[in-house]
Symmetry: D2
Subunit: 392 residues, 4 copies
Amino acid sequence: MSKGTVVLAYSGGLDTSCILVWLKEQGYDVIAYLANIGQDEDFDAARKKAERLGAKKVFIEDLRAEFVEEFIWPSVQASAIYEDRYLLGTSIARPCIARRQVQIAQKECAQFVSHGATGKVSVCAQCTCSLPESTVHVQVSRPVHLELAILGSEMGMAKHGIPVPVTPKAPWSMDANLMHISHAPSDLYLMTKNPEQSPNTPDMLEMEFKSGKPIKVSHVTDGTTKDTPLEIFLYLNEVGGKHGVGRIDIVENRFIGMKSRGIYETPGGTILHHAHLDIEAFTMDREVRRIKQGLGIKFSELLYNGFWYSPECEYVRHCIAKSQENVEGKVQLSVFKGNVNILGRESPKSLYNEELVSMDVQGEYNPCDASGFIRINAVRLREHHRLQGLNQ
Amino acid sequence: MSKGTVVLAYSGGLDTSCILVWLKEQGYDVIAYLANIGQDEDFDAARKKAERLGAKKVFIEDLRAEFVEEFIWPSVQASAIYEDRYLLGTSIARPCIARRQVQIAQKECAQFVSHGATGKVSVCAQCTCSLPESTVHVQVSRPVHLELAILGSEMGMAKHGIPVPVTPKAPWSMDANLMHISHAPSDLYLMTKNPEQSPNTPDMLEMEFKSGKPIKVSHVTDGTTKDTPLEIFLYLNEVGGKHGVGRIDIVENRFIGMKSRGIYETPGGTILHHAHLDIEAFTMDREVRRIKQGLGIKFSELLYNGFWYSPECEYVRHCIAKSQENVEGKVQLSVFKGNVNILGRESPKSLYNEELVSMDVQGEYNPCDASGFIRINAVRLREHHRLQGLNQ
Amino acid sequence: MSKGTVVLAYSGGLDTSCILVWLKEQGYDVIAYLANIGQDEDFDAARKKAERLGAKKVFIEDLRAEFVEEFIWPSVQASAIYEDRYLLGTSIARPCIARRQVQIAQKECAQFVSHGATGKVSVCAQCTCSLPESTVHVQVSRPVHLELAILGSEMGMAKHGIPVPVTPKAPWSMDANLMHISHAPSDLYLMTKNPEQSPNTPDMLEMEFKSGKPIKVSHVTDGTTKDTPLEIFLYLNEVGGKHGVGRIDIVENRFIGMKSRGIYETPGGTILHHAHLDIEAFTMDREVRRIKQGLGIKFSELLYNGFWYSPECEYVRHCIAKSQENVEGKVQLSVFKGNVNILGRESPKSLYNEELVSMDVQGEYNPCDASGFIRINAVRLREHHRLQGLNQ
Amino acid sequence: MSKGTVVLAYSGGLDTSCILVWLKEQGYDVIAYLANIGQDEDFDAARKKAERLGAKKVFIEDLRAEFVEEFIWPSVQASAIYEDRYLLGTSIARPCIARRQVQIAQKECAQFVSHGATGKVSVCAQCTCSLPESTVHVQVSRPVHLELAILGSEMGMAKHGIPVPVTPKAPWSMDANLMHISHAPSDLYLMTKNPEQSPNTPDMLEMEFKSGKPIKVSHVTDGTTKDTPLEIFLYLNEVGGKHGVGRIDIVENRFIGMKSRGIYETPGGTILHHAHLDIEAFTMDREVRRIKQGLGIKFSELLYNGFWYSPECEYVRHCIAKSQENVEGKVQLSVFKGNVNILGRESPKSLYNEELVSMDVQGEYNPCDASGFIRINAVRLREHHRLQGLNQ
């Protein structure tokens, strides 16, 4: 008799193949679920492999459009960046993948969800934590799967004639999606050209934003235009990749408390990060921006740590979205040899007032204003220095 | 009879020449003070001009070494950056210049200090606010100078036969120092090559840090080595400039509340910013880093707004310096076509533990740990979702 | 010929009477505006006085209900408190008063608004800064009024036979409204009994909240019930006042940079502050609360500094209101001898789960979870200590 | 053969007695360790009981003075308060207890430490996380103890004839120390009188601080004076307790993510909290205070969550201590019927300048300053409103 049905996040690779077999052997019915989030994968081959290994059903789901609109766009609005450098390409994909997995579990009346993350805690934390509200009622998410998965990956291979790789497993694993590829140090870059070999002439783009989200990208000289989220993002990946944009090699702090080296390619995400920063600075009040900056840092930590579906992350996303209402306009930029150079910007909502900038010549405030402003500001400082003098 | 002595921050240019003349005409004795903070200037010619215009004394002070050690280094430690993009090259110079001006005023028993900032409030705020403690006792800093200066710059020119420029004054002014050059949109770049014309092969450098401060830079292939603050910084400017590093075109929020376009070149500062970020992430505890990140944002705002000598900025600098005690080690990087690419890092104080990273294979914590960790974390989230369910 | 019409915020007292006369003398038509925000005032007498002094029109506006609903309630939601102690009773009233003043100016086609704050910068900043968006178009708000007002208050008295007080003006002035009274040290308390003379038996109240706002208060024993904002607040003032609740004597930091002593009575506001803190802690997720706490501190600073109508304050109010959606339920409390004691709370939205609290006995997570949780948390700490050991 | 030596944090109560017996039965040598942190306990009886149950050695350590100086004082400096209400009396004691436990383990060459916290994760996290640096080298702290302890508490009682309580265990446990007592709802209060029965006349105290730490307390009328940390704190407990100060009934958010009711008595700590807030506001620069306030909130979270010995908590304590250098002076206060009323304060380091407060009459800054200050501040707001108008 079946112990129940498991929806397994299946990659087509060795680990999750082992888990699939092992879960079956333990008496579970297994539904294989493979999310297409833009990785380079032979989905048909993966489907056949899963069926051959005994999956009762196989779901291959194209999540690319919702990945861009519902997960990448909010991260762009937030200027999400972890520890000042990492654009969170792996982290952004997880809640997108997990959400569909749970939806399938509900539809198929599965009691369990499972995935192949071998002890990679942050992955798991994500998975457990990120179940959307709706699913909790049907009790799908018993984390029982975790031990199964872990045992599976280590024991299953030999038992089932799945060839065990000769070299010990590296601490890195490649993780690829529409947003980025994460690498081992010795890997070949896949999304981006080496800037040393990239073209010697820049491409000029114009990015258009509304409510802090990209709504159009145009190539200034060849006239190419994209205006759906997925197309915009694919095109930015193409242009950024061609010019070697978005490679980084960093050491980052993982959730569970250790430092970890990460090598990432994020071409389109890098262009968007810079363009959005620019249009935001152009259209957002200075003090609102400061508050939003703090919320963006918080959002980035939550995203990195796997808390997308937490109440605090929902709250922060709401507040960030609110801040973006006037973030609207066009940014001109060039992409060249790994660089994204902002060339200009325009906006109907701009707070930039050229007349105001030059008002020191004959302006709306006069020298006496400036003097008073300074004098009042100085009251506190003078008191401080007076006291320091008295006490020396 | 003299109304007293004014120490005038003199640039050699039109504005401050007018102020000099005007101050004399108003009955003040004028001491001209010209700080060498690395700008491209004919200091001898400036001295002669000041003397010719009637300055009682002229002080030309080489502040470059203290500018690097006492002002740029703390900003590097802080990862000081304004609104995520501007490395604060103008702001960092001001407290350095103002400090010496006040010291001269004290030594020369001057009653006033003055400068040529025509209504540029932030400059003035800096000047008034940034007087070091010691000087307040002798009451040097009456902001009376401000009105004088402002009136001077607008009225003085015609009266004294100093030729008035035909075109109305641009809202931009070029500001140059060791750290950066700030530009008008139509200016020629001076410190950096255009990446399109820069060399086709990268230069590889190794930066060495101790307590978060650069202590050595070496060129990996040609063996050049620099190990004093000023030499290090000049060399980084040279290499960065050669490869077109550190150009930005931004809109920033000024202290007085308007948006302003800024075009900056900061070659050496940009290299240092990236190298320091890397060695800091490699050696600093994650949670200390988060706290320090917040303090660095605060420091950047204070610096931008002219509050270097405020009690809060002194406090923040102390706390940031404390955080840097273990920020020590070497960073390898390449500089190429506007990019600073981190290649690797090493440190005796590293918290990076390669064994730990791979511990999911056979590690110090076991799958059960991970599972427990996740389950405990999930308690709060499950409660939240339970409640959401109840209330739907 | 008239220089235009000024809407003068008129208190009926000496200062604003002088300003009224002086403004007329300068050639302005004056509309006197007196806001009823709950202060103890003979409004009829004030009207007559203003008319006698030459006001073209007199507006006496009862703003009490909107003061409670639109200004006090958001402050309660924010747990607004300045420097950990001051409940901001003066600050909350200003944007309420200023808004109506500007509305009257628009309706009456006045070109100016004026008020009697003699150099009290924070008051003025409030007034100038707090003009709602709509009014800027008709250019009502030239701060010209400020100098008028200031000159008026100092010069006007003698000229017009208004008796000048013999004693020099105290640095304190009493400021009273529905929310609080601010005092000079030697004043008699007006809203609250001395706890030493207050009743020897407590009153028990039950406060009901929805979306973080009070919607009902009931006296547990005598059955009194109030359920409109103004009535609720008046009743809490009555009960709090009877028991000596809400007296403080503090030194606070003023916006312009000096320290200032403040003595305040805020009976109803103090009860609400405690009751709201309690229901909020009971119903809000821990991590959302942390974020909201930071926003509340920001809100308090903005409010204190007169920036209610700034973009950042609008933004923060929106975010805080969002956080309050589930802050709903009843709090039981006793009021006695200056104390507000929380006795209990209940809520349909509570995240408090008594079973969960005792789950260590036979709970949803088991000892192994706890152990794993601790072990994972300890990874970072052990690495830190390992390094410290290596470097000693 | 012994499995090794365990240093058991022994309370003399049922739980830890069971653990002691169970550990022995499992083959461990047990050293019982009982910290005197001010709880009401018969230490001699506890020693005898531990010996009778088979402890190899018994350490009873009077930690009261170091508890006050090294743990309570830094918390007072930090204005440590959790979720705006709880003074952290339980949390502050743990790192003090754990430190000595580890020191004993090292001195006695014990391999393990253990305690009786039955699944109360936060307790355990504290214990594991809070081991000072020095001890990690000798590998004392394997959290193996945890399972032992937990199993012990549930299974040991029956086996060893220790009477099992008839009623199921309450989710609350009383926790008492010098700083506070934590209660179950039905408990009798032990440290504080009911304000309804407390004296009808207040006691007046004068607290003296240096570097933010209490250095003396005097009774204004009866002349009692205390000037060592332990005596000061005991005396404040006595006076506060006599007047019913420091009782709270709250719901708080626990580290592991659930809400928990807490009822606390903290008489002396409450007096100190208010007195320190007052002298700090009186002597600290406004902007330094804001930064320190944020650090204090962080410190409170770390303390609550058991991270006293973490790098971030060490860092935050350092920064907070730095902020306290000028927090010096005397605070007069009355204690009465549950209230702590600040009556006045004085300080050689005060930034309070009575002349400055009244400077609007004839002051150091003039009306024009104020006007300029306001006008400059308004630049940003006017731009914002202009834009809002354009876009409506």
